[in-house]
């Protein structure tokens, strides 16, 4: 089990290419998801301060 | 539908068509430059000056790869099945470089009509299959 996981990770030396792609994908999705949340929080803070 | 909306739709469609026509004209004019490489036949018919840096592409002809024993030098033919071009290259080939596979080379034509490449890129096709299937296909052929 552990051996096959290691094989999957290394992928005949091509692993770094594949995992780098996955990392880029996850980072870009995360940034796009977090920005609107931060934006809403800021508006909420500003809006409640005004009252 | 409201006449104003209809008018807006007509305006959008007209402008869009205008952009498309303009783009088609521009792309037609630039058509030669938009190709990444010349095929061997195009190289024969056009008179590209020897020495100018260009890209040529095609299939590596089967059985044409000659590797030097004491250096990295390799000579091979690229073909579009009508004409072919002899390419000399001195360097490390990409993993996917093989006979009957697509290749794009960058370099220049020499006076003798052969091509001296300074860069070799492998062009892979759109077919994917597991190794076992590929082996079976090979056997049936």
């Amino acid at each position: 089990m552990l051996d096959s996981l290691q094989l999957l990770f290394i992928m005949d030396g091509k692993g770094p290419y594949v995992w780098a792609c996955l990392l880029i994908l996850i980072i870009v999705i995360f940034i796009n998801l977090i920005i609107p949340v931060i934006r809403l929080k800021r508006i909420y803070r500003e809006g409640t301060l005004e009252e | 539908m409201h006449p104003l909306r209809k008018q807006r739709i007509y305006a959008i469609v007209t402008v869009l068509l205008g952009v498309i026509v303009a783009l088609v004209l521009v792309m037609n004019a630039l058509s030669k430059n938009m190709n990444l490489f010349y095929s061997p036949s195009e190289l024969v018919s056009s008179n590209i000056a020897p020495g100018s840096i260009i890209r040529a592409g095609g299939m590596v002809a089967s059985g044409s790869i000659q590797k030097s024993t004491d250096s990295l030098e390799v000579i091979f033919l690229i073909t579009d099945f009508q004409n072919s071009l002899s390419v000399t290259y001195n360097g490390i080939l990409p993993d996917l470089f093989s006979e009957d596979a697509g290749v794009v080379v960058k370099g220049f034509l020499k006076e003798d009509g052969t091509f001296l490449a300074e860069e070799v890129l492998a062009k892979h096709d759109e077919n994917y299959m597991p190794p076992e299937v590929a082996k079976m296909l090979d056997k049936t052929e």
């Binding site: 792609c21 996955l22 | 807006r8 938009m34 990444l36 759109e126 299959m129 597991p130 590929a134």
Partner: protein, 238 residues
């Protein structure tokens, strides 16, 4: 129906369901593709980048088409929500275009032997990225939001001509990039155990886009309507 309060309510209610669906399909597709599909006879395991690269590229084009349709609705019917949809979708589209470009580059190095060439497919995709950037920049540079919506709608509609150019670039011109594996006219040039996970990935990416768009639309609506009474009631709760 097309009013911002209605959309905000709908977006807030559906968000957890959309998130769940997107995460499940997305994870199943990627795990299947990267972990369990067979290796390729020529490229080996590096071909698995296809399960990230192709869905990202499909979304990059689809999201632009979505923005063009929204732009058309925004121009003809002057629906405020259509403008908001473009603004919410643009950063997501730019993100997926960037992923398609970067993963393509990472895939190119071990297979073609280069990170980048200026062939028609790669160059037209880069233009798509700049179009997204132009839309994001244009809207934030125009103070008057109604005028900004109009300018952005025009760019979204006219820019859509890049999509068929990207799609057909590999057929019209000689490129280093290979032609499409999937076409409408013939069967895919890969076996089912390779294209089924890819199909699930594409589906997962689409669900992910709907989730991300809904998430981003909430921020856009509240930001644009923050002075309206319904926002005070529903968002600030007083």
């Amino acid at each position: 129906m097309g009013s911002p309060p209605h959309f905000y309510k709908w977006a807030t209610r559906s968000l957890p369901w959309l998130a769940g669906l997107a995460v499940i399909v997305f994870c199943v597709g990627l795990t299947w593709g990267i972990g369990f599909s067979p290796t390729d006879y020529k490229q080996g395991d590096v071909y698995r980048i296809i399960y990230i690269h192709v869905p990202s590229a499909i979304l990059a084009e689809s999201i632009y088409i979505f923005m063009a349709i929204s732009g058309f609705i925004s121009m003809v019917w002057r629906a405020k929500i259509a403008g908001m949809l473009i603004n919410s979708a643009a950063p997501i589209g730019a993100g997926f275009t960037l992923v398609a470009l970067l993963t393509g580059s990472i895939w190119g190095k071990p297979t073609w032997g280069t990170w980048w060439v200026w062939d028609a497919r790669l160059t037209s995709t880069l233009i798509l990225f700049f179009l997204y950037a132009a839309i994001i920049g244009l809207h934030s540079s125009i103070e008057n939001k109604t005028k900004g919506d109009r300018a952005v709608a025009i760019l979204a509609v006219l820019g859509v001509v890049i999509v068929p150019i990207i799609k057909k670039s590999v057929d019209w011109w000689q490129t280093l990039h290979q032609p499409s594996t999937f076409t409408l006219t013939s069967s895919p040039s890969m076996p089912p155990e390779m294209y089924l996970p890819l199909l699930v990935c594409v589906l997962g990416f689409y669900f992910l886009f709907i989730f991300m768009l809904t998430n981003s639309l909430r921020g856009e609506i509240i930001s644009r309507e923050r002075d309206k009474s319904w926002v005070k009631k529903q968002f600030f709760k007083y």
